[in-house]
Point group: C2
Chain length 369, copies 2
DNA sequence: TTGTACGCGTTATCAA
DNA sequence: TTGATAACGCGTACAA
């Protein structure tokens, strides 16, 4: 029994053919179920395959079909529920079509993204779905297109690359959320994001990530159309973790004219914002309002329940995967956008010092529409 | 410019060799950096490769090395934070070692798990990390071992399969949580799980998933050592979503002798339990206590902050990936277990009607230790 | 309907 | 150090 090291070598088509007493290609056809094979021979081949425990070598198969039945997915971080839900949508859809999903986490680092894309290309994935860390540096994405491999952009736009995108129309909802706050009397509204790509520079309102830019555009648009000045100091990035977020909150609260409301770019940021506020003994929404530009299952049982924007992320994932699959099949596909909608809960209220009783949820809804 | 359809065909080693004026194998060595190649020839080859934009075809490479530099991961659901965090750990570790991660979601369905395992085997992944949906039906896992491919069991034990496992010692923490409740005066403690594998039958305290069995073992052990009877009706499965969980909660609350505390098997179940209790206007922990056998970022800002068991899941993922990588290298590896620890927050208290003031967190901790 | 022979792009063998 | 040649396991013209 020293055979453990001498692997019993997987049976190949040749083995099956020999055993069934037919030619290699005949066996291949019978197994693949594609050519023309007589009933009797087919049975014989299948039986032989069964006996030998034959399993096709997908690697070899891929090599001369040129198709690996694999879709590469490149995202910032699966740990982020936003991505993990989208990934689930992608994975479900891909698998239903017989495709595997290869995953790469970039931590939103361009270098990692480039490596991942290159590696996936080398591995001959049939298509790639990527949520680019930046819309500025996109040579590696062009590479994908040049290799004539389908590319689907997930959740984020990239201007210079002509690829299909699946996104959420977040700007309108962001504006709606801002209008809600303005209607309640807020004038100093902060925006906190985990964005790291731009470093700490504030370049107009254009950031490297379109989904963040869109949120900002909604916010700024609503402010401007209400004649409220946009204060760059209220727009904060780099809220990557609890400590950084807490520091940002401290800075905001320490301002001469501090914000009365905070818009969190995503659910994770919102969570860290709530933690920071709580540890500073601030009550939401009495002392300060918080709205997330993202929704999360826990938003319903947080203290207070969190008002936020609900994205159909699973659907976005499904649609991205479908787009990739269609592109693989050579069908043309156009970009697609989903609507996001504001879900009212209890984390928003009138700014401190502004008179008026707390509005009921029903009334608030009227204010918004 | 009708050349868009005539793909410029990726340059191959042969192309590079020709351009550099050397033999194919020499070029291959220079590119792979393994054989013996003269300084001058190497430079020439590398330059040629650069000019042609040569990229290795990993598929072809894999085919005769037999190694695909890919690790297959099979879990129930990436959408579940527990898995997505573990996956992140796996992914980070794998990528650092130059490996890709292929993902399969089984929705805890055995059939899907079998398919995934088979498919991964066919694709010649170098190792597999799987969190099996059931410990009863494990032929497909044996297949992996028989194909002499490294297999690492994630978070769950499987008795009949001799594979390396990376797990959390959850039983002790579960017992600790139960003791905490008993110490507070609880006698009727319910257990709610999302487990579906066993259907709705209650087979002793052994379930198909070891991580659930372990939780139950901790619970039951603590009950018994305190002379408290174990009521099978208090042990519930199939809390797969909000509706099912709500139905279970209704059943529990409708009992003649309803539970005064609920142990939720994981964070998602806990969330649904909290939602159900809230919509029934029950206050936690005044009306009923809730403890999760799992922790979550939102547990700190939920209403009330949720007492639960904290697992080092990211570490579990990292360790599982390291184990897989070592097994690939032929190094022997033994199973590993991590400790889980009870994190006290505010969702537990004395049962209704039991006298005594609310204990401070510090005091509770003393009760537990 | 069946079988032969070749190609996919790479690494491995082995003689020169 | 080098290069021709043989695998790897499969699909697929093409001929029989």
């Amino acid at each position: 029994m020293t055979a453990s090291r001498s692997l019993p070598r997987q049976a190949t088509v040749a083995d099956v053919a020999r055993r069934a007493g037919v030619g290699k290609s005949t066996a291949s056809r019978a197994l693949g179920g594609y050519g023309a094979v007589s009933e009797e021979v087919r049975d014989r081949v299948l039986a032989a395959a069964e006996e030998l425990g034959y399993r096709p070598n997908e690697l070899a198969r891929s090599m001369n079909t040129g198709r690996s039945r694999t879709i590469g997915v490149v995202v910032g971080d699966v740990e982020n529920p936003y991505f993990s839900v989208a990934l689930r949508g992608i994975s479900d859809t891909a698998r239903a079509a017989g495709y595997d999903v290869v995953l790469a986490n970039t931590s939103e680092r361009l270098a990692d993204e480039r490596d991942a894309v290159r590696f996936f290309l080398d591995k001959r994935v049939d298509a790639m779905i990527v949520s680019p860390a930046t819309s500025y540096d996109t040579e590696h994405l062009v590479t994908v297109l040049e290799a004539s491999r389908p590319l689907v952009l997930l959740d984020r736009r990239v201007d210079s690359v002509d690829a299909v995108g699946v996104r959420v129309r977040i700007a309108a909802a962001a504006a709606q959320a801002t209008e809600l706050l303005i209607g309640l009397g807020h004038r100093r509204i902060a925006f906190v994001s985990a964005l790291t790509t731009d470093g700490d520079r504030f370049s107009g309102l254009e950031t490297a990530v379109s989904s963040v830019s869109d949120r900002l555009a909604g916010l700024v648009g609503a402010l401007q159309s209400n004649g409220i000045a946009v204060d760059p100091d209220l727009i904060r990035y780099l809220a990557v973790d609890e400590a950084e977020t807490a520091a940002i909150i401290d800075e905001l609260l320490g301002m001469a004219d501090p914000p009365t409301a905070i818009l969190a770019s995503d659910a994770t940021v919102a969570l860290n914002v709530l933690i920071a506020l709580r540890s500073r003994r601030l009550s939401v929404p009495r002392d300060i309002s918080v709205i997330a530009f993202d929704d999360s299952p826990w938003a319903r049982i947080s203290d207070p329940p969190l008002t936020g924007i609900t994205h159909p992320i699973y659907e976005v994932g499904v649609t991205a995967a479908k787009a990739a699959l269609r592109l693989i099949d050579g069908t043309s596909v156009s970009s697609q956008e989903f609507d996001a909608e504001l879900t009212l809960r209890e984390s928003h209220g009138r700014p401190k010092g502004v008179k008026g009783r707390m509005l009921e949820a029903g009334e608030e809804r009227e204010v918004v529409r």
